[in-house]
C-alpha cells in the first residue's frame, strides 16, 4: 500500500498493489467473472449513501448561516441582500433535493425500483455540497487564507475544516461514478437516449 496525498491534506486514499496475493477459495464473491455486475450494484447502493448524506445538507445550511452572522463594518453578512439571496437559494435547492430523497424512499418502501434516480440524487448532492462549501468559505472572508497557524498561532474557529471541506467536496463529483458518467447513465436508462 502506498498513501496518495490529496489536495485537501487529509489522508483517505491509497494505491494498492497486488502481487501474487493468495486468497482462499471461499473468499470469492459470487461467481467468477461477474465482478463488474456486482460492482455496479455496489455503486448503485453507494449512490444511495449520497441520498443519506443529502439529509445532512440542512445542518450545513445552518453552519453557513452561523458563519454569515459575522459582522462586517457593523452589519452582519447575512443582512446583506447579495449574501442572504445566495444562502436562501442554497436552502431552496437543499429542500428540493430532500423532497426528492423522501419520495425515493417512500417508493422504495413500497418495493418500487428507483431506477437511475439514485444517480440524480448523487448528482445533485455533490453539486450542492460544493456550492454549500463555497458559501461557507466565502463567509469566512480574509481569514480563509489562514489555513494553518505556524508556531502555534491560533486560527479562525472554522479552519481548517471549512477549507478541507471545500477541497474535499471536489472529489464527490469524481468518485462513485463521476458526474459525467451519472449523466450518461441517466441519459441511457431514464431517458432512453
Amino acid at each position: 500500500m502506498r498513501p496518495i496525498a490529496t489536495m485537501d491534506e487529509k489522508h483517505h486514499t491509497n494505491e494498492v498493489f497486488l502481487d501474487d496475493v493468495r486468497i482462499p477459495l471461499g473468499n470469492l464473491v459470487g461467481e467468477e467473472g461477474r465482478g463488474w455486475t456486482y460492482g455496479k450494484v455496489l455503486l448503485d447502493r453507494e449512490r444511495m449513501v449520497a441520498a443519506c448524506n443529502a439529509i445532512f445538507l440542512t445542518q450545513m445550511a445552518r453552519g453557513i448561516r452561523r458563519a454569515a452572522e459575522r459582522k462586517l463594518g457593523g452589519i452582519a453578512l447575512i443582512d446583506r441582500p447579495i449574501v442572504a439571496a445566495k444562502i436562501a437559494q442554497f436552502e431552496i435547492e437543499v429542500q428540493a433535493l430532500q423532497a426528492m430523497v423522501l419520495r425515493l424512499m417512500d417508493e422504495a418502501a413500497r418495493g418500487a425500483d428507483s431506477g437511475p434516480r439514485g444517480s440524480m440524487v448523487k448528482l445533485r448532492w455533490s453539486q450542492l455540497l460544493q456550492s454549500g462549501m463555497s458559501l461557507w468559505l466565502g463567509a469566512i472572508g480574509p481569514e480563509a487564507a489562514h489555513f494553518e497557524g505556524l508556531d502555534g498561532a491560533p486560527g479562525h474557529f472554522d479552519m481548517p475544516y471549512a477549507l478541507q471541506g471545500a477541497l474535499y467536496s471536489r472529489v464527490t463529483t469524481i468518485y462513485g461514478g463521476s458526474s459525467e458518467i451519472q449523466h450518461n447513465i441517466i441519459a441511457r436508462r431514464a431517458l432512453g437516449l
Partner: protein
C-alpha cells in the same frame, strides 16, 4: 501594450515561464515548499537576481520604471508554473505604497530590490472585511516619534516579511476616508506581535497586534487612503495576470489529458460532452485575459473609471479562474485531486486569489457603485 504585448513584454513573460518551468518543478515544489526554508530563500534570491523586483520601481528610485503592462507580462509568466514567492506583494503592492515615502522608504525599496529584505502591507482590520478605509489602529505622536496601537486581521504574504507597511489613524473617525496615514514598522519592533499562517496555496500570511509600536510615516499625513487604494488596485491587476497564467496552464494540461487518456477504448477527448467543457474553459481564459488587459490599462485613469474596471475584472477573472480550475480537476478524474499533479495546485491558488484584496461579492458592490456614479455624470 494596447491589447498585445510588446516584444520586450513578451520576452519578460517567456523568461518568467522558463524560470518557473526550471526552478519550480512539481517534484521540487512538493518536496520543499513550506518544508525547506533554505529552498524558498534560494528561489527568492533568484527572483531578485533577475531584476524582477526592480520592475515596478521608478527609475529615479533605482528601479526599472516598468508600467502596469510590464508587471502584467511578468506576473502572468510566474502564474504559469505557480511560482509561490510573494512577487506581487513585494514587486507591485509595496513599491506603490511607498511612492511618496522619501528616504525611509528608499532604504526598504533598495533592500527589496536586492532581495535582502521582504515587506508586506497591513491594511485590513478585524471585522472590517477588505475595507481599507475602516481603520481603527491609532498613531500617536510623542517625543517626536509615532507609536501605533491596534490590530491588522490579515497581511497578505506577511508571514516572512521583515518590514510592514501599516495604515493607522492620525485623524477622523473609524470609517472616515480622511485621517488615514501610512507607516513603516520593522518586524522586530517592540510591541509588535506577528502571528503567522500558511495558506493552502503555500503562501504565508500574518496577523498583527500592535501595542505602542514605533513607526515611521511614509505617506502624506491624513491623506494616505487614495495611495492605498491605487496601490491595492495595482496588486489586484498583477494577481489577475497571475490568475490568467495559472488558468491557461490548467486549461492546457487538461487538453493534453483529454487527448492522451483512454477510457472505453477511445481518447476521452472524443466525447463531445468533454469537448464542450474544454471549449468553455478556453472561452473563460479568453475572457479573463481580455478583461485583465482592460483593467491593467485603466490603472492610470481617473479614480472612478479605474474602480469600475479593476472591480469588474476582479469579479470576472475570479469566476473564470474558479470555473476553469475546478473543471480542470474534474476532467482529470481521480488523479486531478492528487498532490503530485499541478492541476489541483492551480485550483488551490485560484481559490485563494478569490480572497486576496476582496472577494467577488465585495467587488460586485464596488463595481456597481462606481458604474452608477459614472453613469450619473454628464456626458
Amino acid at each position: 501594450m494596447d491589447f498585445v504585448y510588446s516584444d520586450e513584454q513578451q520576452m519578460l513573460r517567456d523568461a518568467a515561464i522558463r524560470y518557473g518551468g526550471q526552478a519550480w518543478s512539481v517534484t521540487d515544489r512538493i518536496a520543499n515548499l513550506g518544508r525547506n526554508e533554505q529552498w524558498s530563500r534560494q528561489r527568492w534570491a533568484e527572483i531578485a537576481e533577475m531584476g524582477w523586483l526592480m520592475l515596478a520601481v521608478p527609475e529615479d528610485r533605482g528601479g526599472l520604471g516598468g508600467n502596469p503592462a510590464d508587471v502584467m507580462a511578468l506576473a502572468e509568466g510566474l502564474g504559469r508554473n505557480l511560482v509561490a514567492s510573494p512577487f506581487v506583494t513585494n514587486g507591485a503592492l509595496v513599491p506603490a505604497l511607498l511612492t511618496h515615502a522619501g528616504e525611509a522608504g528608499d532604504e526598504v525599496l533598495v533592500a527589496i530590490m536586492a532581495g535582502t529584505a521582504r515587506a508586506a502591507a497591513g491594511l485590513i482590520e478585524p471585522d472590517a472585511g477588505y475595507n481599507t478605509a475602516s481603520v481603527a489602529t491609532e498613531a500617536r505622536l510623542a517625543d517626536g516619534a509615532y507609536r501605533l496601537n491596534g490590530a491588522k486581521a490579515h497581511v497578505e504574504d506577511g508571514g516572512d516579511a521583515d518590514w510592514f507597511v501599516v495604515s493607522a489613524r492620525t485623524g477622523g473617525g473609524a470609517a472616515d476616508r480622511d485621517g488615514i496615514s501610512l507607516f513603516l514598522v520593522a518586524r522586530d519592533a517592540p510591541g509588535l506581535v506577528v502571528e503567522r499562517f500558511r495558506s493552502v496555496d503555500q503562501h504565508r500570511h500574518a496577523r498583527l497586534r500592535l501595542d505602542g509600536v514605533p513607526a515611521i510615516p511614509v505617506a502624506p499625513l491624513d491623506e494616505a487612503l487614495p495611495i492605498i487604494e491605487a496601490a491595492v488596485d495595482r496588486a489586484i491587476c498583477a494577481h489577475l495576470a497571475e490568475a490568467v497564467g495559472s488558468m491557461e496552464a490548467a486549461s492546457e494540461a487538461t487538453l493534453e489529458y483529454l487527448r492522451t487518456r483512454h477510457q472505453f477504448g477511445v481518447p476521452i477527448g472524443s466525447f463531445q460532452v468533454l469537448q464542450h467543457r474544454a471549449v468553455d474553459m478556453a472561452v473563460f481564459c479568453e475572457e479573463a485575459r481580455s478583461i485583465t488587459c482592460w483593467a491593467t490599462l485603466s490603472l492610470d485613469h481617473p479614480r472612478l473609471e479605474r474602480r469600475r474596471a479593476v472591480s469588474a475584472a476582479k469579479v470576472r477573472v475570479g469566476q473564470a479562474g474558479l470555473h476553469v480550475t475546478r473543471d480542470a480537476v474534474q476532467l482529470h478524474g481521480g488523479i486531478g485531486v492528487c498532490e503530485e499533479l499541478l492541476v489541483s495546485h492551480h485550483l488551490r491558488r485560484q481559490m485563494m486569489l478569490e480572497f486576496t484584496h476582496g472577494t467577488s461579492d465585495m467587488h460586485i458592490g464596488l463595481f456597481e457603485a462606481a458604474n452608477r456614479a459614472l453613469l450619473a455624470q454628464p456626458a
